[in-house]
Amino acid sequence: MQAKIQTSQILNLPEFDYQTPASKKDAVGLLFSSGGDAIISAGGTDLIPNMKNGTIKPKALISLSRLSPEKESITADGALRLDALSTLSDIAESPLIKLKVPTLANAAFHVGGQQIRNRATLGGNLCQDTRCLYLNQSHGFQFVDACYKRGGDCCYPYPAEKRVCRSVFMSDTAPVLISLGAQLVILSNSGEKGVDINDFYTGDGLKPLKLGSAEMISAILIPPESQKMQCHFVKATPRGGLEFAMVSVAIALKIDGPDKKCGKARIAVGSINTSPLRAFKAEQEIVGHNLNEAIAAEVARKVADEVKALPHHGYSKGYLKQLVEVHTKRSLTAMIYPKEPLTHETSD
C-alpha cells in the first residue's frame, strides 16, 4: 500500500472575514447576504476550538461580541424570557432564574469551568456541535483523512457505516430546557418564529440542528406552568468538573397533594446520542401515579430502556444505560422525598 499524506500539527486558525454587527437583526442580515458562507460567533468557546481543529471552515464570522444581552424577564403571559446571548455565568447567577427554574441555573453552572462560562452563551450552548474523540483533535498527523463530519469519506469509530455520523450532542442546558418545555425564538431576515425545543434537534450527527443558515436563536421562553413544576438535573462525570457529561438527566414533574400524584412529567437525557433524547413513553407511564420509591425505580428502568445510548468517549453502551437508570432513579427519589438534601453532584 502506498499513501501520500501532507501533515502539520500546529494549531492555527484559518483565515476568515470578521464582522461585528450592531444588532441581531443586522447579524441575520449578514448571515443571509453571505449565502451560507458565514457563521455566528457568540462566545466562541465551541466554535474557535472547532475551527482550530479544522472541523468547521467558515469563510466569515459574524461576531455578536458587540451586542449586550437583554436581562431575563417575565413576559405579559407569564413566560420567563431569556436572551440567547446571556452568558452561562449570568444564567447560573441570576436570582430570577434561580428562583423560577433552578435546574437551568444548575446546568449552566456545570458547563466547563468559570472562564468558559464567562464567555459561553446560552444560544451557543444549544447550538454547539456534536463531539467525538476522533473529531475533537487537530488531525495534524492522526486521523488526517477527513471523516464524514469533516466533509470526507470515512468514519473512524464505525468504519463500516456509510455516511452516518454518530458523534454525540453534549449540551448540558438542552436537556434541561427540554424538560422545561421551552420555546425557542428563531430570528431570520423574515422576522421571528417560535420553535418547540423538542423539534430543534435532528438526531443527525452530520447536521444536528434544525436551523437555517441565515437563522439564529434570539431568545428562549419558558412557559409559566413549567416554572411551577418540580425540577431536577444531574450531570454524571468522571471527575465532577471541567468536562462534558457521560450522561445527563433532566426531569420536570408536577406533583400534587399528599399522595404525591404525578400530574405531568418531562424527562430528557443528554450526552448519550446525536441529540438530547426525551423519554416520552416513560413519561406517560409515570403520569397519574402516586409517586414512591418503587415507582421511581420502575420508571428509571423504563427510561433506560427507552433512550438509546451510543457508546462515546470510551464509555460502553451498557455502562451508559446503567448510569441513565441510576441517575434517573436517584433524581426521581430526590424529587419525591425533597426533605432529603437534593443532590446534583455525581458522588458524595
Binding site: 502506498q2 501532507q6 500539527q9 492555527n12 468538573g241 427519589t333
Partner: protein, 786 residues
C-alpha cells in the same frame, strides 16, 4: 549539637513570590531578537518505510529559513540508556523507517507560525505502510510477523521483539516452593498514563557569533541534556551553554534528549538566528513520552506463619517503538519488589518488548506504583488465604534496621517496621477493617460502601548515572553574604529553597543573605539533575561541603584575628564570636577583608562534591542486577480510606495517610508538598487518568479527555514522618527519598480498600467506574444475588 536554625524548618520557598506573581520566566516566555519558530513533521503511520521526502515546495515558501531531515543530521543515535548492552537506538529525525505515530521526520524553521504551518503542509513524504503491532502479548509471541527491531542479541528466549531482559535469582527457588505451606499465583496489569506537566516541551537555541551554542530547555537536568546534545551535534560539551529557566513540572517526562531540542540547535546553527520550538499539547499527548505500562506475574510461597519462603516474578513492559526507559524499568521493577520484604529464595525475569507505540519514559515512581500495586494486593490475598492479619504478615517479613539487601546494599536505619506500626495505630486500622460494609452511610438510594486498605513501598535515593556526581561552590561577598553556585534544577520540587537552607545552617545566615545561581552549565558546576531521586542527598551534601569549606575558612581567619582557638568560636548573625565571651567578635565583613589581607588574597570560596557509593565504578547491571544500586533507601506505608458507590462504580479516596521514613526532613512543608502531590497523582492513576490508544493512535490527546484530578478531587492527606536520621553542622547527612516513592503504596492501599469495602479485587488499573461496576455485578451474580 545546638539547635538548628534553618534546617528542619518549614521556611517559605524562595521561588514562591516569583511564581505566584507571574514573574518567573519559563523558556517559552523568552523572546530573542530575530527569533524563528520551529516545527516538526511527524509520521501519520505507526509503522512505515519512508520512500521519499520532498521539501522543494516548502523551501520556496517566503519566510522558510531552513529545513532539515534525517540525512542532514550526523546520524548519531541517542537513547534514554546508552550502554554497551543497550546502545542508543533513536534517530533525531527518521532515516528510512518510522516505527510509531508522531515519529519525527523533518524539521522546519520559519519566520512565523503561519509560514511554518504552510511549509509543513507543503512537505511531501511518500510511505510504504508496514504491518504494525501494539499489544505486548502479540508483539512478544514467537509467531509474531512484525519485527520492529531485531531481538536483543544477548537474549536467547523464544520470543519476538525483545528490547531487553533483566534476570536475577538467589537461594534455591524450587527448594523454597517445596517448603511452602501455601503457594499463591496472581497477575496484575497497569495501564498507560502520562505525566501531565503544565509547561509544554520547549527549547530555544541561539548559536550566536561567540562560538557558543546558547540554549534554554525545559529539562530535568541540564548536564545530561548537554552531554546528549554534544554527542548528537558533534560539539564539545564546553561549547554548549544551557541557561537557567524555571521549569513548569516534568514528572520524569523531560529527561531524554528530544528531537526538537536537537533541531532547535541544528536550525539555529544553520540559519545563524535564534530558533524556538514549543510543542503543542496534542503533540505531547500523541508523540512524546508516556509512562510505563507493566504486567506483573507473581508466584509466592509462604509458611503458615506468614514467612515468605519463595517468590518468582515475571514482569513485562510494553516499551513502545524504541528502548526508551523500558529496559530500565524492568531492572527497577526487580528493585521495587525486593526492597521491603525479606525473601530467601527468589527468581526474577523482566522483559521489555518493542511495540509500535511511542517510546516511554520514567513517570514519577518509574515502575514502583505498578509493582507495589501488584505486590501489596498480592500480600493481602495471601493474608486472606492464610487467615492471617495482613499487618502481621507484613511485619513478619518487613526489613529491619541494618539488614543487608541481596545486592550488597544496606538498609541502614530502616524505619519500615516503625512505619507499619505507626500507620496502623494512627488510622485505627485493625478495628476499622472489615467493619464498613454494613454499617456506615447506607441509604436506600445511595448505596455507598466504605473500606480501608494499606500498602507498603520503598524507594532508592540517588544512584550512579551520568554525571554521577554533584559539585557546588559557595563564595562570600564583601558584606558577608554568599552566593551558592549549583547545577541543581528547580522544577517545582523546591530544590533551591532546600539547598539555601543548608548553606544558611552551615554559615548561620538568613535566607536573604544567600543568593542562589543555579542550573546554568557555564556558570555552575556539574549536577546529577532532578531525576534520580537523590538531589537533596547528593547535591545537598555537596552544597553542605561547599558551605562547610567557607565556614572553616571564616573560623580560621577569625581565630587568628581574635587570638582564640577555633573550637571556642561560634557563628552568629554574620559574625564570629568567642562562645564564652560574646563581646569578643568579628563581623564576616571584617573576616572577608582580613582573609584577603592575610591569606594571600583568599576571597573565601568553598567547594564541595558528592558522589553516592563513591567506591562503586558504575550503576548496577541492568541485565543481572549485580552491583550496588543506592546507599540510601526510604520506606513508606500508606493507608487509604475509600467510598464506593455500588450503583455507579464511582470511588472516592476520602483520606490518605502516609507514614514514611524520610530520614530527616530539611523542610517539612516541602516534604508535605511532595506527599500531597504524590497522593493526588496516585488518585489520578487509580481513578481517571488513562491514555486511550487504538492502533498506535491516541484517542484523547487533550486536557478535556485525559482527565487529571481537579482540586475538588484531591483527597484529605495526612502524614507522619518517621525520623531515622539527624542533621548536624559539619557532618554528612542522610536524607531519604520523598519525591517519587509515595505514589506507590497509596495505589495499592486504594485497591485493598476497594476490596475491603466491596469484596472486589482489582487486578488492573485504572479502577474506573465502568470496570468497578462490571466487577461488582459479576460478584453479585456469583453470589447468586441476581
Amino acid at each position: 549539637m545546638g539547635e538548628l536554625k534553618l534546617v528542619g524548618k518549614s521556611l517559605l520557598r524562595i521561588d514562591g513570590p516569583d511564581k505566584t506573581t507571574g514573574k518567573a520566566k519559563y523558556t517559552a516566555d523568552r523572546k530573542l531578537p530575530g527569533m524563528l519558530v520551529g516545527g516538526i513533521l511527524r509520521s501519520p503511520h505507526p509503522h512505515a518505510k519512508i520512500l521519499n521526502i520532498n521539501t522543494e515546495k516548502a523551501e520556496k515558501l517566503l519566510g522558510v529559513k531552513a529545513i532539515i531531515s534525517g540525512s542532514d543530521t550526523r546520524g548519531v543515535k541517542h537513547g534514554f540508556v546508552e550502554t554497551p548492552r543497550y546502545p542508543p537506538d533513536q534517530n533525531i529525525l527518521a532515516d528510512d523507517v518510522v516505527r510509531h505515530v508522531g515519529e519525527e521526520i523533518v524539521a522546519v524553521a520559519a519566520t512565523n507560525y503561519k509560514v511554518l504551518n504552510d511549509a509543513l503542509n507543503l512537505i511531501e513524504v511518500t510511505y510504504e505502510v508496514l504491518p504494525a503491532v501494539f499489544d505486548v502479548a502479540e508483539a512478544m509471541h514467537p509467531d509474531c510477523k512484525v519485527q520492529i527491531h531485531p531481538n536483543h542479541p544477548k537474549v536467547k528466549d523464544d520470543f519476538c521483539n525483545i528490547a531487553g531482559k533483566t534476570e536475577t535469582q538467589w537461594g534455591d527457588i524450587e527448594e523454597g516452593f517445596k517448603q511452602a505451606d501455601l503457594i499463591c499465583v496472581d497477575r496484575f496489569e497497569s495501564h498507560l498514563r502520562t505525566h501531565g506537566y503544565l509547561e509544554p516541551q520547549t527549547a530555544i537555541a541561539d548559536y550566536g557569533g561567540d562560538g557558543t551554542l546558547h540554549m534554554w530547555i525545559s529539562s530535568m537536568g541540564h548536564f545530561v541534556k548537554r552531554k546528549k546534545l554534544a554527542s548528537t551535534l558533534g560539539m564539545p560539551e564546553g561549547s554548549i551553554q544551557i541557561h537557567k529557566a524555571y521549569v513548569g513540572g516534568a514528572f520524569g517526562g523531560k529527561i531524554d534528549l528530544f528531537s526538537h531540542e536537537y533541531c532547535a540547535a541544528a536550525l539555529s546553527i544553520k540559519t545563524g538566528r535564534p530558533v524556538k520550538f514549543v510543542a503543542t499539547r496534542e503533540e505531547i499527548f500523541t508523540a512524546y513520552r508516556h509512562g510505563q505500562p507493566l504486567i506483573s506475574e507473581i508466584k509466592t510461597g509462604v509458611k503458615k506463619d506468614g514467612t515468605i519462603v519463595a517468590q518468582q516474578l515475571r514482569m513485562i513492559n510494553n516499551a513502545g517503538a524504541y528502548k526508551g526507559s523500558g529496559v530500565v524499568v524492568i531492572f527497577l521493577a526487580w528493585g521495587f519488589v525486593m526492597l521491603p520484604y525479606r525473601v530467601k529464595n527468589f527468581k526474577y525475569e523482566g522483559y521489555s518488548i518493542f511495540t509500535n507505540n511511542p517510546p516511554r519514559a520514567p513517570l514519577r515512581g518509574h515502575g514502583a506504583p505498578q509493582v507495589r500495586f501488584a505486590l501489596e494486593s498480592h500480600m493481602d490475598i495471601i493474608a486472606e488465604k492464610l487467615k492471617m492479619d495482613p499487618i502481621a504478615l507484613r511485619l513478619k517479613n518487613a526489613r529491619i534496621p541494618g539488614e543487608e539487601l541481596p545486592n550488597g546494599d544496606n538498609v541502614h536505619n530502616c524505619g519500615l517496621q516503625a512505619c507499619i506500626q505507626k500507620a496502623v495505630s494512627k488510622t485505627d486500622f485493625s478495628k476499622r477493617r472489615h467493619c464498613f460494609p454494613n454499617t456506615e452511610k447506607i441509604s436506600a438510594h445511595r448505596p455507598i460502601k466504605h473500606g480501608i486498605g494499606l500498602g507498603v513501598s520503598s524507594y532508592f535515593g540517588g544512584s550512579l548515572i551520568y554525571p554521577n556526581s554533584s559539585s557546588a561552590i559557595v563564595k562570600m561577598n564583601d558584606d558577608g553574604s554568599v552566593d551558592l553556585l549549583t547545577g541543581a534544577i528547580e522544577l517545582g520540587q523546591g530544590s533551591e529553597t532546600v539547598l539555601c537552607q543548608i548553606v544558611g545552617e552551615e554559615l548561620q545566615l538568613e535566607l536573604e543573605d544567600i543568593r542562589i545561581i543555579s542550573s546554568d552549565t557555564a556558570t555552575t558546576p556539574q549536577d546529577i539533575g532532578a531525576w534520580i531521586s537523590g538531589m537533596t542527598y547528593v547535591t545537598g551534601n555537596a552544597v553542605r561541603e561547599a558551605a562547610g569549606g567557607v565556614r572553616e575558612k571564616i573560623l580560621q581567619v577569625a581565630a587568628e584575628q581574635l587570638n582564640e582557638r577555633v573550637e571556642n568560636l561560634k557563628l552568629e548573625n554574620k559574625s564570629v564570636l568567642v562562645a564564652a565571651d560574646p563581646a569578643q567578635r568579628i563581623s564576616y565583613r571584617d573576616v572577608f577583608n582580613a582573609s584577603i589581607a592575610n591569606s594571600r588574597g583568599d576571597t573565601i570560596i568553598g567547594k564541595g562534591h558528592w558522589r553516592t557509593m563513591r567506591d562503586e565504578p558504575f550503576h548496577p547491571s541492568l541485565a543481572t542486577t549485580k552491583g550496588r544500586w543506592s546507599e540510601n533507601y526510604a520506606f513508606s506505608v500508606q493507608v487509604a480510606e475509600v467510598a464506593v458507590d455500588t450503583e455507579t462504580g464511582e470511588i472516592k479516596l476520602l483520606k490518605a495517610t502516609t507514614v514514611h521514613d524520610c530520614g530527616f526532613p530539611i523542610n517539612p512543608q516541602l516534604v508535605k508538598g511532595q506527599i500531597d502531590g504524590q497522593v493526588s497523582l496516585a488518585l489520578g492513576h487509580a481513578f481517571m487518568e488513562d491514555v486511550m490508544m487504538k492502533n498506535g493512535y491516541t484517542l484523547n490527546p487533550t486536557w478535556l479527555d485525559y482527565r487529571m484530578p481537579l482540586i475538588h478531587n484531591v483527597a484529605d492527606s495526612k502524614e507522619v514522618d518517621v525520623i531515622t536520621e539527624s542533621y548536624q553542622v559539619g557532618r554528612s547527612f542522610r536524607t531519604k527519598e520523598v519525591g517519587e516513592g509515595l505514589v506507590s503504596a497509596i495505589l495499592a492501599a486504594i485497591a485493598n480498600a476497594i476490596y475491603d469495602a466491596t469484596g472486589l479485587r482489582m487486578y488492573t488499573t485504572p479502577f474506573s467506574p465502568e470496570k468497578v461496576l462490571k466487577g461488582l455485578k459479576l460478584l453479585d451474580e456469583n453470589k447468586g444475588l441476581r
